[in-house]
Subunit: 214 residues, 2 copies
Amino acid sequence: MVTETSSRPTATTRRRILDAASREFADWGFAGARVDEIALRAGVNKALLYYHVGNKEALYASVLARNFDRVEGALADAMAGGGSAHDRLSAVIAAINEILRKHPDHPRIMLHEFASAGGNLEPEVLERMLTVLGAVAGILAYGVRYGEFRSTDPVMTHLTLIGASLVLNAIAPLRHRAAEISPEIRFPDDADVAGFLADLLLHGIASPRTGETT
Amino acid sequence: MVTETSSRPTATTRRRILDAASREFADWGFAGARVDEIALRAGVNKALLYYHVGNKEALYASVLARNFDRVEGALADAMAGGGSAHDRLSAVIAAINEILRKHPDHPRIMLHEFASAGGNLEPEVLERMLTVLGAVAGILAYGVRYGEFRSTDPVMTHLTLIGASLVLNAIAPLRHRAAEISPEIRFPDDADVAGFLADLLLHGIASPRTGETT
DNA sequence: GTCTATATACCGATAGAC
DNA sequence: GTCTATCGGTATATAGAC
């Protein structure tokens, strides 16, 4: 319908730019990332990149928005299923870690942000982080009410869960490098992260009354 | 004894440079940090900074070396005390988190490094990280042997402990910012981190036979 | 929508006076 | 040991042709 003069891979171009930017921001953080390098990685001209996404800050915001869209989508699916608090928390941990493993740029960017005290984080992103916190805290309270979980600080518990998930998923390449230095140590597989964390944390917050064994 | 022509705060100058560099690297990561800004923060001339520390990479290595000196010192003290595996792991968690809380630049820099897949990490630093891993893994094995702990993957357990400690200590300013957005949520105090983590993880790896309550 | 060329500012690092 | 001044390179961002 629209009278276009030239080629049309508009949506594709923007996606390619976001993919390349995501990787570059993960590699170097916001301040260390280079727009030239992003354009090079995306295979698009730098001026075209500016035409599509505005500037470096807007590009960063777009990458983060897409990442949180994915997390919230996976989280909504996990929250849809019912079951015990144990089952619900397991599902959330599995969903989060699956997304982080499939899109390793996300945990890496968030780690840069946590390190920088969220200096490049817009209030909107901060609110979306609090949404995730609210979901986990809800399950925790639910588990405490029905005697499945003992009472722990929900913010600390959530941050431990998120922090460990972020680090374990972001660190995969470093684990492989460490494995070369110390061949006698058995470094576990990336796919085991969710199962391990669910097991450890669920045991950690289990009510003393319940004698669980997974 | 030495015939000096001018002022003498040599050691102090170097320390001031390292302190300023530590903060700047924590704020922006290695790639994002600015040497001009470090000199400004340290209150020394940029040329003098180069005279003292060489270049940006050497400066970064010096900061990391000093940070790991502190961690290993605290760790050695914690390992000196005997007691049950439970007591030993508690002591290690307390020691690590006390250092991270007293020197918040360290967890922030390490988070940048983890995010960057250790791209700026010299092999020497990687080995020092493995030293800490070895200490924790030793306590874990000790606890399993004498029936205090159930058997968990030592690398995963260690990375969970370290990852959570890093994030919880690095994130303090962000927690305060989040507390302003959501006043209804009670964000815990920074000093509670070690106690919380020890409680959660010790419950998480406790042997099913032992019915512990802290 | 896509490119080349460039403005403008900044960064890491050094020369050389004192 | 400490400074001023500056080089050479690179960064973000834009103007303007097609």
